[in-house]
């Protein structure tokens, strides 16, 4: 990162509006991320989380407002500062590629004119696979991996170009709780090593325990702040448009949709009485 860029926030989202048709998906969203932040965008399905990511990634152009990365306007042109990990369920797992071949894709901007990658690119790949503990899988087909290993492969690809900002779309979707924990610990490690990290997630509770900054989104940005500050009933009700309960226990925050005031048995008995 150059010294000049340090004056800017790494990510600046300013009065962003976007809609696919007549109805806006995002309305007047503004926030900034400093270098070194680790943030999660949370919100219900259809809240515009993925759309927001796509605008930051430069895959969509905003209707109004803008996004800058390291001081440069994105506006539909993907920034070189970003390493991106897509949702794993968007990947074609039958595609004939090995772990190595996927990871090397991350170096495509720096790739030479000829068809194969340079020795230093391969050295970097080996170092990253080693760091992420998947070096022994390098010649495997991507289907022959566990969910956690698959996530690491795509994380390695995102790290190949040594980006300032890592963006992950739902990194904990579709993996078991233990793997989700591991992935968030790994992201926290990368964050401590200097990467700015932005994720989207459905999983409020895992995020609350691991991510220090949350952006609550539902069309508009409802609130942002550390989990203790934003995971309160008022904000959650407005974000999820449902009644939520927050349970605090031994420094642990647990969020759940408010249970109905009856049980299955009550229903049954009600019906028979």
């Amino acid at each position: 990162m150059s010294a000049a860029n340090e004056h800017f926030p790494l990510v600046q989202v300013e009065n962003l509006w976007f809609g696919y048709g007549a109805t806006p998906v995002l309305e007047d969203v503004s926030f900034t991320l400093r270098r070194g932040q680790f943030a999660a965008v949370v919100g219900p399905s259809g809240a515009g989380k993925t759309t927001l990511l796509r605008l930051i990634l430069g895959l969509l152009k905003p209707n109004r407002g803008y996004v800058t990365i390291a001081g440069e306007r994105v506006n539909g042109r993907p920034s070189v500062h970003i390493g991106y990990v897509p949702q794993l369920n968007a990947i074609d797992w039958t595609f004939p590629v090995t772990v190595e071949q996927v990871v090397l894709m991350g170096r495509i901007r720096q790739a030479p004119f000829w068809p194969w990658y340079r020795r230093q690119d391969k050295a970097r790949m080996e170092m990253l696979l080693e760091q992420l503990g998947i070096a022994h899988l390098r010649r495997r087909h991507i289907r022959d991996l566990s969910g956690g290993q698959q996530q690491r492969v795509f994380l390695a690809r995102a790290l190949m170009a040594d980006p300032d900002l890592l963006i992950l779309d739902e990194p904990t979707a579709g993996v078991d709780m233990h793997t989700a924990e591991q992935i968030l610990h790994l992201l926290a490690d990368l964050n401590r090593a200097g990467k700015t990290v932005l994720i989207t997630t459905h999983d409020l509770n895992t995020a609350a325990a691991h991510v220090p900054w949350m952006l609550c989104l539902n069309g508009r940005l409802i609130a942002q702040g550390p989990p203790e500050a934003v995971l309160v009933e008022d904000i959650l009700n407005r974000t999820y448009r449902a009644e939520m309960v927050v349970i605090r226990q031994n420094g642990l925050l647990l969020v759940h949709q408010k249970p109905h005031a009856h049980t299955y048995r009550d229903l049954l008995e009600g019906e028979f009485s």
Partner: protein
Amino acid sequence: MSELLRPFAFEFFRNGFIAATLAGGLCGLIGVFIVLRGMSYIGHGLSHAIFGGAVVAFVMQWNFYVGAGLWGFFAAVLINEMARRTTIKADAAIGVVTTASFAVGVAIISRYRRFTRSFDAALFGNVLGVSALDVAVIAAIALLVALTVLWLYKHFLFATFDAETARVYGVHTAWIETLFALLLAAALIASLQLLGVTLIAAALVIPAITARLITDDFDHLLLLSTLIGAVTGATGMLLSFYADVASGATIVLVQAGTFGTVLVWALLKQLAQGQARHV
């Protein structure tokens, strides 16, 4: 041995043999991307569209390769844009564009009946129609396509695997799509005389899916599919001489036979592995 070399005494066979090997390899190479992108139907459709272009080129006395090639390329772009800019799905767009284009060819032929016989070759392929000049053109196209795929190998791979992420990493996927349509059109016209409109799709798809049964590695897949295409092209050509059967059909039957054999082998292997796991 001399019996095996006998057909090579004929010039038409030498031309046909080289053309079949090159066209087989070329279709095998492009076919990998066709199959992985789920574009088998566009390959089939485009060859029909090109038939329309070939007829128009013939009537207008344009060069066959230029006329048919441009026609095929524009048909591919039209399909692409229609699917991208409207709610019409790609398969429906292919159905409209390529069939209408084929109909243009059929309409013109029916109007000028005296052309009918020479267009049998375009429909079903005819080795006798392959001249030394055709061989040179096919060789040039094969070389050009191979060099382009080599040069842009990394971009093609990324864009085919995961187009959206490829865009984030700076790959111009729209350009890659257009270039790919151009390469496909080129491969189709290179194979048209030999295989004919109706048989090309098989030559595109079969080598790639056969190779896919053998390997999970993308690099190996490209090499193997090209090799299978070339070898089955050459073998089919030889067999067609001895069996006195149309060359295009023989090539496709050899490819289908190879695929069938590999499929059985792959299924048996799977079965053996499955049983080993249960022990």
